[in-house]
Symmetry: C2
């Protein structure tokens, strides 16, 4: 049976796992990433993670047909070169795919995490059997991927599918990217926390505040979710407003792409999953596509392992 290794690189750690042809992950490992040293030091972490899997599963040395890697961008997925990621200062124009191929003697592929995670959902997860797939990771940031006919859509230079920075309110709150009213600035975890903090005016009682230790400045999206599950009215309003904005955003995405399915993953997706019915009910009012209401909105199969699965999917 052929297998692949998926490597998920972050600013502080490298996670990796052995992935079967059916998308099952085993032999997971995690090593610290040194992102502030030189390029070779950064690559040492990748080598160590892969080597740990081979040590743990010696049979994989022969069975592995490729290594896929998710890396912070910008990067060029066609050449496997990491360009100049703000979160990985060690790598500038670093040929990550070529270095990996040299180190392990198998083909290597590099892409960004949301593209890769979307592909994993198409190959093994919630989007199996769908041709035109829109995928989004909703978390601290909002990353998206577009997969057509089991192939990641890359656009002109490999930077396409930055749906998290589609603005729905050009006068809205400033996003980290410099635009205003991006859905990331409105519905990411920090944006949900900020919405809750804005609504905690000091008079209304809310369990959100209790969960944050009575300190408004400490409110996080998780507190809002927890308070909502406990029946808190303010938390419900915060999440309903978030769902409303997600429906508007998905209406824009549907108007451009008319996908066959929308798959969402990440912590905020889990938090919002109780509001999918509201999102689906509102979406047709925010799309001109006649049959928009038929498009499913579903949770991703892969949660915290989306990066490993996605990276492995790149070898598919």
């Amino acid at each position: 049976m052929s297998m692949t290794i998926g490597v998920d690189i972050g600013g502080t750690k490298v996670a990796a796992g052995l992935v079967s042809e059916a998308g099952a992950i085993s032999h997971k490992t995690r090593v610290p990433m040194v992102s502030t040293g030189d390029a070779e030091q950064g690559f040492d972490a990748v080598e160590a993670a892969v080597a740990a899997i081979f040590d743990d599963a010696p049979e994989a040395r022969r069975a592995v047909k490729g290594i896929g890697i998710c890396s912070p961008g910008p990067l060029d997925p066609m050449t496997g070169v990491v360009l100049n990621p703000p979160n990985l200062p060690c790598w500038r124009d670093f040929p990550l795919a070529a270095a990996t191929e040299r180190a392990f003697g198998v083909p290597a592929h590099v892409d960004n995490d949301a593209n890769a995670a979307g592909l994993a959902e198409v190959l093994w997860g919630a989007a199996v059997g769908y041709r035109n797939v829109f995928y989004a990771t909703l978390g601290t940031g909002i990353g998206t991927g577009i997969v057509f006919d089991k192939k990641i859509y890359h656009g002109r230079t490999g930077s396409a599918a930055e749906g998290g920075h589609v603005t729905i309110d050009y006068n809205g709150p400033l996003c980290g990217c410099g635009k205003r009213g991006c859905i990331e600035a409105l519905c990411s975890g920090p944006a949900i926390a900020a919405r809750a903090r804005g609504m905690l005016d000091g008079t209304a009682h809310s369990q959100i505040l209790d969960l944050a230790g009575g300190n408004v400045a400490e409110v996080r999206a998780e507190h809002v979710g927890q308070a909502w599950r406990q029946g808190d009215a303010l938390a419900k309003r915060v999440l309903e407003q978030t769902a409303h904005l997600l429906a508007i955003w998905l209406g824009n995405i549907v108007d451009v792409l008319e996908p066959d399915i929308m798959v969402v993953g990440g912590g905020v997706a889990e938090l919002m999953s109780g509001f999918f019915p509201q999102i689906l009910a509102e979406l047709p009012a925010w799309s001109i596509i006649p049959r928009a209401r038929e498009i499913p909105l579903v949770m991703a199969r892969y949660g915290a392992d989306a990066g490993i699965a996605g990276a492995a999917a790149l070898c598919g």
Copy 2:
């Protein structure tokens, strides 16, 4: 030399022309469309238009390898069935492609006008040689098309690429589609006229008002363009604001699609062409794509004949 016939159906007329392999149009004809009668009466206009071309160019009877048709939607481009267009009440679930094939004995293809016009630009116009193409007709409405590798991107049911209804301001002006802040509600011809009317407060002198016969209610986008060409300051402000909004919208499009080129046609595109430098200067601030500034924004090759050329391109 093989040729095609392009048929462009509107609510009140059917235009058609003979189109060469190089996209040159000849033997143009135009017949009235009866859109309120029964389906056969509506189809009579299509038959009459094609017959007129054959009468005018008898050699075309043997050379024509296919007939392409642009029709108001919604329609199913895969089956060539027109579903239930508000502007063509005569046709409901009408098999337009099949009827055309039966009448003329050659393959027929049906799609909406913006998709088709985008394809014509890829095959013969401003987007020759580009892989990922975003096309927009800016006029009374805003229609868009997406063409990947010389193929129209249709999405799940053939309704994709409704980029004119991407909202950039969900609290903005109501669009005819029911959404708020769609770019069509902000930058179509009628929206530009409305912007000018709003800025003509009765005290500032503007040639816009003179061109509209002194009647604010009569102001049209053409008056704004004419006044701007004559150096009118208010007209310049109206069009600069329009360009600003188009840059925000194109930033969203670029963030999702990262196209290789953006091609725009239609009366408002011509009107705004003097502001392309402003749009291109502002766009990078409204896109997270690192190399967004490299993406060309160009006028379409086809103007008033975009529907005929586009229809013919469907046979390519």
